[in-house]
Symmetry: C2
Subunit: 302 residues, 2 copies
Amino acid sequence: MASSRLVIIGSVALDSIEGPAGKRDDVLGGSATYACYSASFFAKPELVAPVGKDFPATARAVLAERPIDTTALETLDGPTFRWSGRYTAGFKSRETLSLNLGVFMQFLPSLNEKLPPGSILFLGNIDPDLQLAVLDQAGPDAFVACDTIDHWINAKKPALLKGLAKTSLMFLNDEEARLLSGEDNLIKAGKAIRKMGPKAVALKKGEHGVLLFTADGIAALPALPLEGVSDPTGAGDVFAGAALGFLAQSADRSDARLRAALARGTVMSSFAVEDFGVERLRKVAPADIDQRLTALQQLIKF
Amino acid sequence: MASSRLVIIGSVALDSIEGPAGKRDDVLGGSATYACYSASFFAKPELVAPVGKDFPATARAVLAERPIDTTALETLDGPTFRWSGRYTAGFKSRETLSLNLGVFMQFLPSLNEKLPPGSILFLGNIDPDLQLAVLDQAGPDAFVACDTIDHWINAKKPALLKGLAKTSLMFLNDEEARLLSGEDNLIKAGKAIRKMGPKAVALKKGEHGVLLFTADGIAALPALPLEGVSDPTGAGDVFAGAALGFLAQSADRSDARLRAALARGTVMSSFAVEDFGVERLRKVAPADIDQRLTALQQLIKF
């Protein structure tokens, strides 16, 4: 199996989360944490992110449980990124209670070298200008996957569009897709975003699954049925991390392989939301993943 | 192929519809019309509904284009059921502008006889007390499918629950499922409704597809990707009609057969919404159905 490098750039954070399933403080989170933790079930991701000197040894120990290369996890002067938020009943919406970017303010992600052909680079939800800077460092041969949020679509659309033109696989949720495309209809939205540059668009619909738009057409996967959601924080990053970890196992970037990758994303995010932070993922065994992949096949069989 | 009788009870109406795709008056509609028209691609449904003396010959001619048994289409003194409604941008919601039940007020659906074992009876969205009366006439051997709307869940829940206990397959959309079950989570909602009596629950999510709950577990099918929705009126009845028409082709009521039936519902409703009323269905050929079934298989393949 010709495996590829998988470089994941984003945040490592300490979150305080409250919602229908309770309240937790100082939960290890952040886009890069979630994506790496999930990807590590399929590949050995390289984590590029900053933490502060206050980053606890217990959190480092949780990262160390998985095959994650933390060489590029920088410790900077200042506090670790902290976010606190509250989910409403039924997890219908969430509200940010406080946000302290801390060392993330000074973060200038650096790759030190161009990435070899076939490498996968995941640019988590960070400032589109930073995404562009990393894209330049990575060179033209990497398979670049991006995530973003409504804030950057509103605040930095030109930089985001420049990045999109160099993106192989764009991850967005339904609201972000509508906002970015100006289209209400999600099929029109996905197609419109693909015309902005990305070879493929993965449009995540939460409990309603995911749509994939490529040159060859559209794929759709439902989500696995879940009754007991505890914490949806990071589910999108877990989704992307699993998909990219799976892609990194080979040089195959075909539609069939992308679909199989999204199935891994579907499975890993179904685990992730069952407990706070990465707690559920810490307990996942390879056989559990196979079992849910089979359940997903069974779910859609007709 | 041992085919079953398929009796469809509901309304035949003349609708005035306006929305993003334009405005049409006197569109042939009603739950029984939509369900029969769709079912007629798979079986010969028996239409049980009333119309007024004003029901136009042109509308009768449209019904006559399909193999629909209209022996029990009664013509009563008074005006035909008329509904007018308006869809908002993106078909996000609809508003009833006027409603005249007309002859539907005096409608006492009658089967004249108990249905032979294996027969399928579809009780479209009508007063749950009427549904109960028909259930008694039908006898215990029919496979009963029901539809309802939020109005009856609010106004006549006890009668609705009595009917549910005798129902084989209940069709609801997501909002109705939440309202009836009191559960926000659709998986919990589907399971809770199944506990009210129906052997199977088909929970329709519009553009997000359908969930099926049975004793054996859950199935999920996405909707076919559609960019050009013109009129979603009756899509749920078209869905149910196709599913039941397909079931009527054999005595098989297994989970596998139910899933295959929902795939037919998915395909036929994808056609129906592409034009006003049954206009798109009038142009559907069997090969078109096969093509979209293949597209649905292809859509979810991973």
